[in-house]
Amino acid sequence: MSGESATDYIQHHLTNLNLDLTEGTVEPGATGFWNLHLDTLIMSFGLGALFCYIFWLAARQATSGTPGRLQNAVEAIVEFVDKTVSETFHAKSRLIAPLALTIFCWVFLANLMDLIPIDLVPSILSALGVSYWKVLPSVDLNFTFGLSLSVLVLIIAYGIMGKGVGGFFKEFLTHPFGIWLLPFNLVLNLVEFLAKPISLALRLFGNLYAAELIFLLISLLPWWIQWALGTPWAIFHILVVPLQAFIFMVLTVVYLAMAYERH
């Protein structure tokens, strides 16, 4: 932070590399719907692709004999996810377990970017002429809501699959107070319905945003004391990073199970 004020420094780190779609120019800080956060898109897609590639490598060479290191690690994760899912979602589904695995690994990798020294990537990229770069996709609401809205679509789909179109809407209107309190049911269910994706997205965003902000504040301290706060905070986030990924996965499966199974 040479010469800039603390506010500018933090502001800079929290600004996406933005592509204005209406004008076709790179314009950080622009508002409106027709903008693309290039850093979020590239980071999230790249991390997801990395997950797919690593797991595909393991799956391609998967053997029932003695597994190698990679297969061991991948199997451990797969079995962990499989166990968690089968404890929650009791019906047979070919989609749920791979979905949970994807969410867990993708969100985990996205959160893991939190542990990269915060000035490392932006300073490398600014030397290459890219002025803004948020390396942590979980700190973009577009990423977390992108995930949670996809989950919402799945919740609706599974609700209809499990209960039929009629059953789904009937539950929406008559649950939990019965047909005579229909408006209350509707409002209640609507709130509950919307609370799911919002809480999913905001929980992830909030946790990682706070983490990132604290790291930024720590990096404002004199260099010789940074380790004293940065190290415990980073160690703490070794816990938070997989925990948030796990929570996102488990809640997704729970929501889908609630939508699918009859009460």
């Binding site: 929290l14 996406n16 933005n18 779609l21 508002t31 409106g32 719907f33 027709w34 903008n35 693309l36 956060h37 979020t40 898109l41 999230s44 897609f45 997801g48 692709a49 997950f51 797919c52 797991f55 595909w56 393991a58 799956a59 391609r60 998967a62 053997t63 029932s64 004999g65 597994p67 297969q71 991948v74 199997e75 797969v78 079995e79 499989d82 070919r94 989609l95 377990a97 791979p98 979905l99 695995l101 994807t102 993708w106 996709p137 973009d140 609401l141 577009n142 990423f143 809501f145 992108g146 995930l147 809205l149 996809s150």
Partner: protein
Amino acid sequence: MNFSATLWGPMISFVLFVWFTMKYVWPPIQQALADRQQQIADGLAAGERGKQELEKAQSEVEAMLRDAREQATEIINQANKRQDEMIEEARAEARAEADRILAAAREEVEQESRRAREELRKEVSSLAVQASSQILKREVDAKAHQDLIDQLATQL
């Protein structure tokens, strides 16, 4: 921190990644896990089977050994019996042979003695006749020699 078209990015990638995982990642790994589970189960079952077979084989071996021992004992007993029989037979035969030889010898002795006696009798008679004729030639006193003749007669 505002919503923008960026929202579509993660949604589309999400669908893509989930599809990829579902198609190319999950099934092979699950397959490998299931196969390994099957292999381990098979291995354990095979071990159990092997153990049972070993026990069976051991008991078979024991039975065979017992049979063999019994047979050996029987054979030895038979052999002993046969030996006794043979010895008994041989002894009986030898005894019979001895009896036969003894009988033959006795018979021969008997015959021989009978013949000798016969001969002797003949000789004595002729001797007696000779003697008597001699005596008679020398006007014998029959009375005086009567006891001599009697003595001879008793000796025969």
